[in-house]
């Protein structure tokens, strides 16, 4: 089960399950069914941002030093970033434990 910040009961759920404020998917941290995660080799990375562009869940964010870092709260471990990286700087490693 995903970790949810906004747990509600049937008496407090919104009418018709409508969403009145946009962007509330941020509250649903869905990155916990991943079987593997991307690990970046900063030696090889050229900061091109292909991982950021291709990530289907927008889990990558650029950090102050210009690298792109994955947010594991949302990463599903699909491996598209590793596949698209032109410098093979991303390796998918199994999640353990």
């Amino acid at each position: 089960m995903a970790r949810v910040d906004a747990i509600v009961g049937w008496k407090t759920i919104t009418f018709g399950c409508h969403i009145f404020e946009p962007g509330n998917s941020v509250k649903f941290r869905t990155g916990d069914w991943r079987s593997q995660r991307p690990v970046l080799d900063k030696e090889k990375c050229i900061k091109c941002g292909m991982c950021w562009i291709y990530c289907p869940d927008m889990a990558y964010n650029q950090t102050e030093d210009g690298y792109f870092e994955v947010n594991l709260e949302y990463c599903k471990g699909c491996g598209i970033c590793a596949n698209e990286c032109p410098k093979d700087a991303i390796t998918m490693v199994p999640e353990e434990g």
């Binding site: 995903a2 949810v4 509600v8 049937w10 759920i13 018709g16 399950c17 409508h18 869905t30």
Partner: protein, 392 residues
């Protein structure tokens, strides 16, 4: 004063939809559709009804279109039957949790194969759990009245759920009956304009129909179910007001000659009228027989049903649906559940009859009552019994 006229029930229903001043009608016009939407398309085309008529390419699209228009805040109507209802099924499940008060008339018909356009309840019984309010009409007048009532209840902000008015296909939909078409003034008094709590509006965008991940889906379904159960209060209140304005009284369960009855027949829809004649015939012969007619099917009126049964020892349930491979059919199944292990509960027997437009006669009801009485003395081997189906 409203005038009583001879009119085909489908046409009368279309006129009632017009009186309810709908905004959108979406329907697919081919068999097993009825004259209801055919006449509505004429009313829209000749300018006497100011509404959008959307002739879609299937019933699946019809119900999808209805969901969209209802979400946008339009009073929405459609009608269908049998295979058409089945094609809608997927979207029926969508309208209720989204709280879209669409009103639909279903002319109940048999499911093919073999191909049939005649009456029974096989189409609707498989849709009993879709979360819609459901009533069954006994005759043309009741069909018209229940339709107007359906809009009032469905659109009530405390309810905000879709509603189906069931009428027996062919037996009601295609016959001419004396019907009092209500006055516009009275309908306006009974049915206020549709003002939904929330609607799709580009000036104030909201999301309807989002993903329900496992953390929220269950709660959403409970909320829908509780809203449906709570709608009974509004349904009863609206029937009371209906009586005050139009002078015709409706209740969730109709009891006919039930005093000191040993056996109560339980029916739904138009065969109830034949059943009343059968009760009269049997009473004349000195048999203590009565009749319960289920008008409100969803939400099921548990307390009202129990009260109507009272201390009657035998219930003979007439199902017009065959639950292929099941233990017994839906109506009897629910009633048996209702009375399971209840002290001094009546003995309940399930009789399946009138499939695919087969006439159900007074003699059939007499046979049902005779069988129920003998089963009460000696428990039958089977859980349900065919009435009127030939063996050879």
């Amino acid at each position: 004063m409203a005038k009583r006229i001879g009119i085909e029930v489908s046409i009368a229903l279309a006129e009632a939809v017009k009186l309810c001043n709908v905004d959108v009608i979406a329907a697919y016009p081919i068999t097993p559709q009825t004259h209801i939407v055919e006449h509505l398309s004429e009313l829209v085309a000749d300018g006497s009804l100011d509404a959008e008529f959307v002739p879609v390419e299937s019933e699946h699209s019809a119900m999808s279109c209805c969901c969209g228009s209802s979400a946008a805040g339009a009073r929405t109507f459609t009608a269908t039957s049998a295979q058409g209802l089945s094609l809608m099924s997927e979207i029926l499940y969508i309208a209720s949790p989204m709280r879209l008060p669409i009103v639909m008339v279903v002319a109940n018909r048999a499911m093919s194969a073999p191909i049939s356009i005649w009456n029974d309840h096989q189409d609707i019984m498989v849709q009993k759990d879709v979360g819609w309010i459901q009533t069954f009409a006994e005759n043309g007048q009741e069909a018209v009245d229940l339709l107007i009532h359906a809009f009032r209840v469905a659109e009530d902000r405390k309810v905000s759920l879709p509603a189906i008015v069931n009428i027996d296909g062919f037996t009601l939909s295609h016959v001419i009956e004396p019907i009092e078409i209500p006055d516009q003034e009275d309908v306006d008094k009974f049915l206020p304009p549709f003002k939904p709590k929330y609607r799709l509006d580009p000036r104030k965008p909201i999301t309807m129909g989002p993903v329900g991940i496992p953390e929220i889906y269950f709660e959403s379904k409970i909320a829908t179910n509780e809203a449906l159960k709570a709608s009974k209060k509004v349904i009863l209140k609206a029937w009371k007001e209906f009586e005050e304005i139009f002078g015709r009284k409706y209740e969730p369960i109709d009891a006919y000659r039930t005093e000191d009855a040993e056996v109560l027949l339980v029916t739904m829809g138009s065969i109830s009228e034949t059943a009343m004649t059968a009760v009269d015939v049997m009473r004349d012969k000195g048999q203590k027989v009565g009749l319960l007619k289920i008008r409100l099917w969803r939400p099921f009126p548990i307390q009202e049903f129990r009260k109507a049964v009272g201390k009657t020892p035998i219930l003979a349930v007439v199902d017009r649906h065959l639950s292929l491979g099941g233990v017994c059919s839906p109506v009897a199944s629910e009633l048996k559940t209702l009375y399971y292990k209840v002290p001094s509960a009546p003995k309940i027997f399930d009789f399946i009859t009138g499939l695919g437009g087969r006439d159900v006669t007074v003699e059939h009801f007499e046979e049902i009552v005779d069988k129920a009485k003998s089963f009460a003395k000696r428990r039958p081997k089977d859980y349900y019994h065919y009435i009127g189906g030939r063996e050879k």
